[in-house]
C-alpha cells in the first residue's frame, strides 16, 4: 500500500486494466473516495463505456465530471481523501478538440498533481507504441500525450505500467 499522501501514476494500453487496478488501490483506503471522470459522452460508444465504469464502482464513491477543468476539480478535493483521476489522456484529447494550448494545460495540471494531499491515483494511456499515425493531428496528440505522461511520471511517487491487468512497477 502506498503512503497516505502520495501520487501513484498508472499507465497502460486500452483494456489493460488500469482503471480497475486503480480502484482496488484507492479503496484499500477508507471511504469516501472521489472519482474524477474526464470522459465526455459524445456518442453511444462512450455512453456505454462510461456506464460500464460507473457500474463497476461500489458504494462510497463520489463522482465529479471534469472533462476540461481538471486542475480545479482536483484542487477542490478535501485533504486526506483518496482520489482517482481517470484519465489524463481523454482529458488531453478534450482540450485538443477545443484547440487549447496542450503544453500550458499540461503544465497547470502537473503543478497540482505535484502536491498530493492524500492517496492520489492517476490513470493515463500509453499511445506511442504503435506505428507512426498517418495524420498530423494524431501525431501532435501522440506527442503531447507522451510529454504529459513524462511530466506526471517525474512527479509521481510510484509509476505502474499495466500489462493485461497486471502491474509492472516502473518507479
Amino acid at each position: 500500500m502506498p503512503d497516505a499522501t502520495s501520487l501513484t501514476f498508472l499507465l497502460g494500453g486500452a483494456r489493460s486494466g488500469k482503471s480497475a487496478h486503480a480502484e482496488r488501490l484507492a479503496t484499500a483506503f477508507p471511504a469516501p473516495w472521489t472519482y474524477i471522470a474526464t470522459a465526455q459522452a459524445f456518442d453511444d460508444e462512450m455512453v456505454e463505456r462510461i456506464a460500464l465504469h460507473r457500474d463497476r464502482r461500489a458504494e462510497g464513491w463520489q463522482t465529479i465530471d471534469a472533462p476540461l477543468d481538471l486542475a480545479d476539480a482536483i484542487t477542490g478535493v478535501p485533504d486526506g481523501q483518496p482520489l482517482l483521476v481517470d484519465c489524463l489522456t481523454l482529458w488531453l484529447s478534450n482540450h485538443l478538440l477545443v484547440d487549447h494550448d496542450l503544453e500550458r494545460e499540461s503544465e497547470r495540471l502537473e503543478a497540482v498533481l505535484a502536491k498530493p494531499r492524500g492517496p492520489w491515483f492517476v490513470v493515463a494511456n500509453e499511445v506511442g507504441l504503435g506505428i507512426v499515425p498517418d495524420n498530423a493531428l494524431a501525431r501532435k496528440f501522440r506527442d503531447a500525450a507522451g510529454r504529459l505522461n513524462q511530466r506526471i511520471a517525474a512527479r509521481a511517487d510510484r509509476v505502474l505500467f499495466m500489462v493485461a491487468g497486471l502491474p509492472m512497477q516502473v518507479k
Copy 2:
C-alpha cells in the same frame, strides 16, 4: 523452467520474439510437443508467415490447425504433453470475421486454459498501446483482445511481456 503442469502466457508486440521464445520454453520439456496454430492463410502474406513459423520448428512437433475451435483442440491434447498455442489474437480475429460473440468465445477458452494438464504456453499480441484506431471495428477488436488478455493473464501461473526478443516477467 516452469512447473510441468502450469500455464505460461507470453504477450508482446509484432515481431517481439513471442513465438520463438515460447518454442524455446516448450522444447525444454521432452518431445512430443503439440503446436496449435490459429492462423488462416487468406493471402500470400499469411502463407509466407505461416511457412516461416513452421520451418523454424524442429522435428518432434505435431501441428494442429484450429482457427476457430481452439477450446476443443486444447481439450484433445494428451495429459502431460507440452503445448504451444500461437496465437490467441489471431484466433479472436477469426471469430470477429465470422461475427461470433467474442466474450462468449473468450469465456469458453478461459475455462479450458484455467486447467492446464501439462506445460502449456500461450502466445498473444498486445495491440492496445497505439493511438485510438479510426474505425469502430478496430476499436471493438482492440477492446476484446485486451479483455481476453486480462482473462488469460489472471489464470496464468506466469506472464511474460516480450520486448525485442527478451522476456520481462510480469507475473
Copy 3:
C-alpha cells in the same frame, strides 16, 4: 553506469524520453561525445523536431548526420569515445523509402554494433504494440523494425524499455 566499452540499447514509444535518457547516460562519461543523427528533414515538422533535439544537447557534442550510411559513420568514431545513435527506426525507414534491402542493411548494422569500442548508446522505437496497420507497407516496416530491434537487443550488454521517461531494465 555501464562499462566503458559496452552497448546500451534504449527502446520505447514516441515521446517516451529515450533520447533524453540516452544523453544523460552518455554524458556521464567524459566529453567529447559523438551524436549520430539519422533524421532527415523532409518537412517543417521534422525540421522542428531535429532543432529541438539539437538545442537540448549541451556543449561538447559533435553531431554527424547519417540518414543511410550508419554503419560507416559508427566505424569512423574514435575508440573509447561515448557515442549516441538516434535512432535506428528512422534510419530503417530512410532505407525503406529508397527501397533498399532492409534485412541486409540490418545485418550490416548489427555486425558493427556487436563490437562496441566505447560506451555506446543506441536508441530505437518500439512500433509493434498497436493494432495491425491497414496498409501492407506499414506492416512490412513494422516487421522489419521489430526484427532489427531483436537483432540489436541480442547483441546489447544492456537493454532499457522506456516508459514515460523512466527506464525499465529488460536485460
